[in-house]
Amino acid sequence: MIANYGYKDGSGEYYISIDTDKCIDCPVGRACLTGCPKGMFETMTDDYDDEVVQIKQSFRRNLAYDCADCKPSSNRPPLPCVVACTPAAIKHSW
């Protein structure tokens, strides 16, 4: 399943997509959990009893602000969560 967490508001569309099919047998031991400096990711057991990663509820309404530190307007480095996730399960919409 591709789970899109986030929202759209007057300033734009802010979604983090997690392809949970790539997430189930994570070969890098859930590196995203520690890769995100804000600790926005957490593990959960989905409806099909697979352990996958999701965005914590408390961050889902503030992605534009919480991710801002990793997204400077110039010389933007690769996103730490995306780099940590070698199966390429994590994508940002903005």
């Binding site: 591709i2 789970a3 899109n4 309404r61």
Partner: protein
């Protein structure tokens, strides 16, 4: 075998009891909806469940399993499992439309788009965690501002052929736009259509994240608003949106079906 599904929505609690034959084919035995009012979530779930059972002469012991879904699903203490609205919605829609691929679920507080694989399993979803402007409570607030009932509001929008853009993304600011339109003597039907077009536009933006494949099915309380259905078809640029007979009970039905499958 009797199983139950409970959908703890933000406005209402829905209960569906189904009877599943040995072949696995379910039939809906009872649907029941309550407005919790001042009740706590767990008390509301208990009340709705007991009322549904007594209406068909059943006791709790007669039910093999209970699953819960919805924003308040964690409050249903007697449910064996809690499942997401996506899984429950996808499963419930498969009862009515096995060929459904895109589900648009618009309830009171949240709208979401769900892509299914044709077997009743959700494979992709997007919602709007932040704002009620793409959901039923927005339409309800705007109908109050126009001093129309929800039924009148939906019907009024169908009488308009004007397109008035609403720019505000927030329910609060949108209401001020509506007030401005009222002050400028804009006919109520044109305002109603503008509001429902705005809701449909926001919902459609979410659904486009998961992609729009036929058949498209709309579930949730907004199915009862014909103006919204019309606006959604226009926004999604499709000719047909399938509408289940019991749209607000689809997620609860899906829960009951998942409970039955787990027992088989």
């Amino acid at each position: 075998m009797i199983t139950a599904g409970i959908d703890m929505g933000s406005r209402t609690v829905k209960v569906v009891l189904i009877d599943t034959e040995a072949s696995g084919a379910p039939s809906v035995k009872k649907t029941h909806l309550i407005f919790p009012g001042d009740l706590d979530g767990d008390a509301a779930a208990e009340k709705a469940y007991d009322e549904a059972l007594s209406a068909v002469g059943l006791k709790r012991d007669d039910v093999s399993s209970v699953y819960a879904t919805g924003a308040g699903r964690v409050m249903v203490n007697f449910a064996k499992e809690k499942v997401t609205e996506m899984s429950a919605g996808a499963k419930g829609v498969s009862y009515f439309y096995p060929n459904a691929r895109t589900i648009v679920d618009v309830g009171a507080e949240e709208g979401r788009g769900i892509k299914t694989d044709g077997t009743g399993k959700a494979v992709d979803f997007a919602g709007n965690e932040k704002c009620a402007a793409g959901a039923g409570s927005f339409a309800e607030a705007m109908s109050r501002a126009l001093q129309l009932t929800l039924k009148e509001f939906g019907e009024a929008s169908l009488r308009s052929d004007k397109t008035i853009p609403m720019n505000a993304q927030c329910t609060v600011f949108a209401e001020s736009e509506v007030v401005s339109l009222i002050h400028s003597s804009t006919p109520k039907e044109d305002i109603a259509k503008a509001v429902l077009d705005a809701v449909a536009s926001r919902v459609c933006a979410m659904v486009r994240r998961v992609g729009i494949d036929k058949d498209v099915v709309l579930i949730g309380g907004m199915v009862h608003n014909p103006g919204f259905v019309s606006s959604l078809k226009t926004a999604m640029d499709i000719d047909e949106v399938k509408l289940p007979d019991i749209p607000e009970f689809v997620a609860a039905l899906g829960c009951a079906m998942l409970a039955a499958e787990a027992k088989h």
